[in-house]
Amino acid sequence: MEDDLFSLELLISRILRYGVLASGALLLLGWGTEFRFRGNPYAAFHSYQSVPLKEALETAMAHSRFGLLTSYAGLAILVILPFTRVLLTAFLFLVQKDRMLAAISFFVATALIFSFCLGGGS
């Protein structure tokens, strides 16, 4: 039973590792095409300016900055990966009839969604 849990969780982790690689590839592609030849790329970030994600994406679309959009896609995948793991682990515990740990995992997944919503709303 415990070995089943471990091997299934290992399978989830291996799949998620491909997610990290996919994200890394997108980030590399976006970074390589967009940011390489633009002088000091960090000059604009010496002081903080609040620009919500939605607005940043709209600006990138309007200026056809596909490298930037590709990078955002890579970042979105990275953020979603741990959430996916928690959700799949919850189902894993459910299948194993370990209701207590399944409930705990679902709680963690819900808390993550709540946190994301807080960021989107601020």
């Binding site: 415990e2 849990l5 471990f6 969780e9 290992l10 982790s13 291996r14 998620l16 590792r17 997610g19 990290v20 994200s23 890394g24 980030l27 590399l28 976006g30 970074w31 967009e34 940011f35 790329p41 960090y42 604009a44 970030f45 010496h46 002081s47 903080y48 609040s50 620009v51 919500p52 994600l53 939605k54 607005e55 990078s71 955002y72 890579g74 970042l75 979105a76 990275l78 953020v79 990966l81 741990p82 959430f83 793991r85 928690v86 682990t89 515990f93 207590m100 740990l101 705990i104 995992s105 963690v108 808390a111 993550l112 709540f114 946190s115 994301f116 807080l118 960021g119 989107g120 601020s122």
Partner: protein
């Protein structure tokens, strides 16, 4: 990006997220605003943990049940950390955290050998948290889990600091598991690394949607961390527990001085 490779290697080796290296480098050397640095660091921490998790599970060191339970503490802590992030003076937190790390380094330096749990906490009994792990000779060492509620409370603090400072809080996580719950050092390290991604994504996701994660900064850092952590996770099993502890104490001391100086 080269610094990120180093941070990722060290992070995976010690059960840290690498954020304690990434944030100071981005702010002190590249003069990037700390809010962008924190957000980029959290993203890189998610990459470290997600990339290395399979390696730790394969070695059967990670305690999955302990990880899932303690994530309740870290994720709720991270939410609170995100909510108060714009209201708290970070210099105060840097100072407190630095002093706390210094104290931890002294305590860990004085500690000789591992002290494992002698009794199993009722929650551990109910959730089946006690387990076993393989040592260097491949023998399975059984262990129990003590003081679960206290560990959970410390995890809340770890999550809060993670969101506020852009660190993985691996140091606090390992201290909670190793020092409070009396788990073996290797189990603490691996389980901490396994959990760090979930902790970090709670606030990283929030910062991402708020627009603080800028690809111009986060992309090179994350790529470097992915590469570094890949090598770090592979080196961990080949290193004895005593050496891991020594390296860990040095990292604690260096980071504590850095934090205190930042807070003053």
């Amino acid at each position: 990006m080269a610094i990120s490779v180093g941070a990722g290697f060290l992070g995976a080796l010690l059960g840290l997220g690498g954020g304690i290296i990434v944030v100071p480098v981005l702010t002190l050397f590249l003069h990037i605003d700390i809010r962008y640095a924190i957000a980029a660091s959290l993203i890189s921490i998610v990459a470290t943990s997600s990339g290395a998790a399979a390696s730790y599970l394969r070695d059967h060191i990670t305690n999955l049940r302990v990880a899932v339970l303690l994530e309740v503490g870290t994720v709720t802590g991270a939410i609170v950390g995100f909510l108060i992030s714009s209201h708290v003076q970070s210099s105060v937190l840097f100072l407190l955290f630095g002093l706390f790390l210094f104290f931890s380094a002294v305590m860990m330096f004085r500690k000789r050998g591992e002290s494992l749990a002698e009794v199993n906490h009722p929650w551990s009994e109910k959730l089946g948290l006690a387990s076993s792990f393989p040592n260097e000779r491949g023998e399975r060492i059984s262990y129990q889990v003590e003081r679960v509620p206290e560990g959970l409370a410390l995890m809340f603090g770890a999550g809060l600091l993670s969101a506020l400072l852009g660190i993985g809080s691996g140091i606090l996580k390992v201290l909670a598991m190793d020092g409070v719950m009396k788990l073996p050092m290797k189990v603490s390290s691996a389980t901490s690394n396994f959990m760090i991604g979930v902790t970090a994504t709670a606030s990283a996701g929030a910062y991402f949607l708020r627009g603080d994660v800028r690809p111009e900064i986060a992309a090179p850092v994350a790529i470097g961390i992915i590469i570094g952590s890949w090598f770090g996770a592979r080196a961990m099993m080949k290193m004895p527990a005593a050496l891991i502890r020594k390296v860990f104490v040095v990292v604690l001391a260096v980071v504590s001085v850095q934090m205190i100086l930042k807070g003053l």
